[in-house]
Amino acid sequence: MQKNKQMQKNKRQNVKNVRSVIRQTVTGYAGLSLGIVLAVAGAIVTALLPPWILGSIVDTITAGNAVPVALVILYFAFTVLTGLTESLREGLLTVFGQKITHALRSSMMDKYTNLTAGELTKQEPGTIVSRFVGDVDTVEHLFTSGIISMFADACKIISILVVIWLKNRGLAIVLLILLPFLYWFTRTVQKNMLKAQIENRRAVGRASGHVPETLHNIRTIHTLGKERYMEQRYDEYIAESYRAVDRTNFYDAIYSPVILILNAIVVAFVMLFSASGNAKVLTLFGMSAGTAVAVINYISQIFTPVESLGMEIQTIQSAVAGVHRINEFYVLEELPERVRNLETPVTTEEETPFVELQNVTFAYEDDSRKILHHLSFQVYPGEQVTLSGRTGAGKSTVFKLLLGLYQPGEGKVLIQGRDAFQIPENEKRSLYGYVEQTFHRVPGTVKDQITLYDDSFTMEEVREAARIAGLDATIEQLEKGYDTLCTSEIFSQGQWQLLSIARAAVAKPKLLLLDEITANLDAQTEEEVLQALKRASEGRTVISISHRVNAETGRIITF
């Protein structure tokens, strides 16, 4: 089972870009992919047939014969079939598009889990969300309303042209000449609309930003009596947006009429030519009444896919940009493969240091400045140690090395004799607890804050952790106790800090790392926090970073 997962993971790691994820999805769901191809082709073919049959019906009537019922039923049957294949195509495309987005997001999350700590801190959370959500959605659109429908539309145009060629050669030539112009017109309108829409979005952004700004600055507005001025500004922003919207409206309103008038003109020409009685013209344009009905039908069918074609090209363009950004994400630096099944024995004897830095030199990758120079120190089991030094001396960096976030350039960082960077994920919590200046709230209940979604902790352990932190009474008073959903207002800043002590203490770690935890607290809360720490530190090895050094903090290491 474990091995299986491992293999799966390795397989996933081979995934390096959007294209390979898509390829895997297509081959992974071969039946689905085949179904889409068939449905697309089916919808094109079946849509061609009804007008053809209609033509025969009209011709039959014109000849003065009764229409066979079978022909009528055939006409309807193909209409039904068209609907069904279209429905099938839409359904399959939806499923397929979602499979691709799921696979993409999964593989991106794998990638994210393997990023180096340096890359993790460099990524803006907002940017990550737009990569995972917005950009992946554009890839989905690429399939559901981009490439495949573009292919379908192109096929539709070609097949209609072929049918018209068979029915009325002259009209096919007219359409062939007309289509490039039609396409050009469609794109011009769409491009201009997009431009106006972007402008509008910008203006809308300004206008809607004006409201929170007003709320924020309401005191200034009131005391300076600037209500009217603010109203004028708002009106200006809205007016700006409306100028842009008006432009969009213009293009939106002009497109269909132009197309339909064009449609009418083409029909008119065909009718005129076929009525000309000129033998030469008739070799190209001659047709029966039935054909005329069919042709009118086809002409109106050919204009729709041209319009869609334009939209699809736009979708593809924006998807290409999204794919590009996702691929950039895929090349971020990954962690080196961890040494699995770490064989180094854990040393727990009293005399060997619990934590040891041996001649450590370290610099962050994007910064040539060395933070640590040949630093060495040992901390023995049960010892309480304070790291001291001026700001920027690298105290926090030492913590990051101990937490296995970074590897030292030279030297060794050892916890219980093992390389700190190689400590497996599932051992981390019982080995060390880390308390920072600020509490990082996760979505969920109070219990989730303490356990970080680890269900292996019993309720008793959670309560014990809260008791150590001195928060148990406060939590019990909440309406739903430990199951209360956390919002920022349920605890004060100091209480959140206490909660982070509970989070660190719940797994009963052997080592506590405390980073400037009282820096933002007032005297009263600071006292509470220190008391909690005293309880938490009992029988543990503690390394802390603090500017305020006092007698209780034990041995001091200065660097």
Partner: protein
């Protein structure tokens, strides 16, 4: 029901306008009558003219048959074709006019509603907006306006495109052969009822999808925000699996909602098309002379083409009701906020005068007393320094003059009680600059002038900000960003001070305006301040005391008590003041940063 409303509206338009009621939706239809008139005319022409297409197509086919049969000539076709193109052109031009003006109508309504909402928002008191949550409600209402106006647009559009067009098509079908028309249309209601039934599923799955998509974004944001925490605590693999579960839920809900909304419409169309079976069969009988009516081929094709268009159109009928429903929901939320009232807003800038404060004490509603025994007597030109320990309540003392909450005691300016003045008078008396510079996302110039006609340069000079502004790429027209993010803390402070000076009031309350400035600049600005507002009373709250010997009076706050005196008197009376002053006189600029923090937290 909506149609009735529409009719009523038309009748009302004729009447002489009654009292303006902006919380009535009809008001918006009424004020936009010229636009709506254009929409009505072009809409009618367009939708009735739609019949021209099928009719002409039928005639042309018939004419072709006649020509082939030798019964008509080329000339007949030419006439027919020309008329066809002309009529299509007229119809389509009307369509253009209709589409354009319907959207303009929605735009205008949108703008009018937003302006009313905004006006009512900007006049609400700070307490209402922030503490009672009115601000959030109104922000949401402004977003609701978009939905409402969009709904009104769709309603107006569909009235013509669906209502009128459907009626026209049905009329034409009935005219040609009423029995066949009824037979053909039998299936339209079936398809409509089915679509309506399915709508609930569309909405339900749509809502579920929206929720899932929100969850996914939240999960992604959490994963990215707390990445290091999860790594340090060894929770990454578990989080990855939880995310995978999120993805699976998202996929399921997305597939469901998309299938309901994309895979079903073609099926409804099939049902509406069922009637074509009868039309082809009985219609051909009509042509052959064995049916209910006598038709020629032209009538047959017209009838058929009319029916095909009707089948497509009827699937839009649901849209009309959806649009109305959506608009109603959002309008209901906006309506209570749309009451139009008149506001007095221009502040009446008052003449300089003396300020008498006697026995003032203050507590937030339901809270303990923040300070008491506040006594002060000040004449124009005086600068009064206010200080005390961290969190002693000096910011609260400054804000007392804003009358956001009632105070006890008397504050008299030129013999008039502050709390008895109108809002405009109060605003014309007190100028206030708080911790938060409250800058606007606008140019440096506009931030100072706020629409007034003045020279910003002299105020920039006074706050020693002119040099830096001149060095900016666009100088005075540089946009400062949201809340002034593109400026440093000290720059933002000075810009806000320049704005306060530009809108001079006889009493100026400045809460720590120099906290981010170096000592030299601070002294320079202070000297300029004295010159520029020589006839105003300035109350300067600060924790940096080296300027205090230059103050005309000093207010010392300790244990909720306010004591007024000269610098020397306070120095003598209060050892704590002396200690603070001595400590800072050593030139330790650093104190300021340490003390700045907690004071900001005070509300």
């Amino acid at each position: 029901m909506r149609k009735n409303a529409w009719k009523k509206e038309q009748e009302r338009m004729k009447q002489i306008s009654e009292a303006v009621k902006k919380d009535q939706i009809l008001y918006y239809f009424k004020t936009q009558w010229p636009v709506l008139l254009a929409v009505t005319f072009s809409g009618l022409i367009y939708n009735l003219g739609l019949l021209a297409g099928p009719w002409f197509e039928g005639r042309m086919t018939g004419c072709l048959v006649d020509i082939l049969g030798g019964k008509a000539g080329y000339q007949d076709m030419l006439v027919l074709v020309t008329a066809y193109v002309m009529s299509i052109a007229i119809v389509q031009i009307s369509r253009y006019i209709k589409r354009f003006y319907v959207r303009r109508f929605a735009n205008n309504v949108n703008r009018d509603m937003k302006e009313i909402l905004y006006r009512s928002l900007v006049h609400r008191s700070r307490a209402e907006l922030e503490e009672e949550g009115v601000g959030n409600v109104m922000t949401k209402a402004i977003l609701d306006v978009d939905d409402c106006a969009e709904g009104m647009r769709k309603f107006t559009t569909e009235i013509f495109d669906t209502g009128v067009a459907l009626a026209a098509y049905v009329g034409m079908l009935l005219f040609y052969d009423w029995r066949l028309a009824i037979l053909g249309m039998l299936f339209l209601p079936v398809s409509y009822v089915l679509a309506e039934k399915m709508k609930r599923n569309v909405q339900r799955t749509g809502a579920a999808y929206k929720e899932q998509s929100g969850d996914l974004s939240a999960a992604t944001l959490d994963r990215a925000t707390n990445a290091i925490t999860y790594r340090v605590y060894g929770r990454e693999e578990e989080r990855r699996q939880a995310y995978e579960a999120n993805l699976t839920d998202y996929e399921t809900s997305a597939v469901k909602t998309n299938i309901w909304s994309t895979a079903f419409p073609p099926l409804y169309r099939i049902i509406s098309m069922t009637g074509v079976l009868f039309i082809l069969y009985f219609g051909s009988k009509n042509v052959l002379g064995t049916g209910w009516k006598i038709w020629d081929v032209a009538a047959f094709t017209t009838f058929l083409s009319c029916f095909l268009k009707l089948a497509v159109k009827s699937s839009h009928a649901a849209k009309l009701f959806n649009a109305v429903h959506k608009a109603q929901v959002s309008w209901k939320r906006i309506k209570p906020l749309m009451k139009e009232t008149t506001y007095e807003d221009d502040s009446l800038v008052q003449e300089p005068g003396t300020l008498e404060v006697s026995d003032v004490s203050f507590a937030y509603p339901g809270g303990e007393k923040i300070y008491e025994d506040f006594n002060l007597s000040a004449t124009p030109g005086q600068i009064i320094g206010v200080t005390g320990a961290v969190a002693c309540g000096k910011s609260t003392l400054g804000k007392t003059f804003l009358c956001e909450y009632p105070y006890e005691g008397r504050i008299c300016f030129r013999g008039k009680e502050l709390s008895g003045m109108t809002k405009a008078e109060q605003n014309g008396m007190v100028g206030y600059l708080g911790h938060d510079p409250e800058l606007f996302n606008d140019s440096v110039r506009n931030n100072i002038l706020l629409g007034d006609d003045d020279d910003p340069e002299k105020y920039l000079k006074a706050v020693c900000f002119d040099g830096e502004v001149a060095e900016m790429e666009e100088g005075m027209d540089t946009i400062v960003g949201n809340g002034g993010v593109r400026l440093s803390g000290g720059q933002a402070q000075r810009l806000a001070l320049a704005r306060t000076l530009c809108h001079k009031r006889p009493v100026l309350i400045l809460d720590d305006p120099f906290s981010a400035l170096d000592r030299k600049t601070e002294e320079e600005v202070f000297a300029n301040l004295r010159k520029l507002v020589a006839d105003s009373i300035v109350i300067l709250l600060s924790h940096r005391l080296y300027l205090f010997p230059k103050m005309d009076q000093v207010l010392w706050m300790e244990d909720g008590k306010v004591t007024a005196g000269t610098h020397e008197q306070i120095l003598e009376k209060f050892p704590e003041y002396a200690r603070l002053y001595e400590a800072q006189a050593d030139g330790a600029d650093a104190h300021s940063t340490q003390e700045g923090g907690p004071d900001h937290a005070e509300k």
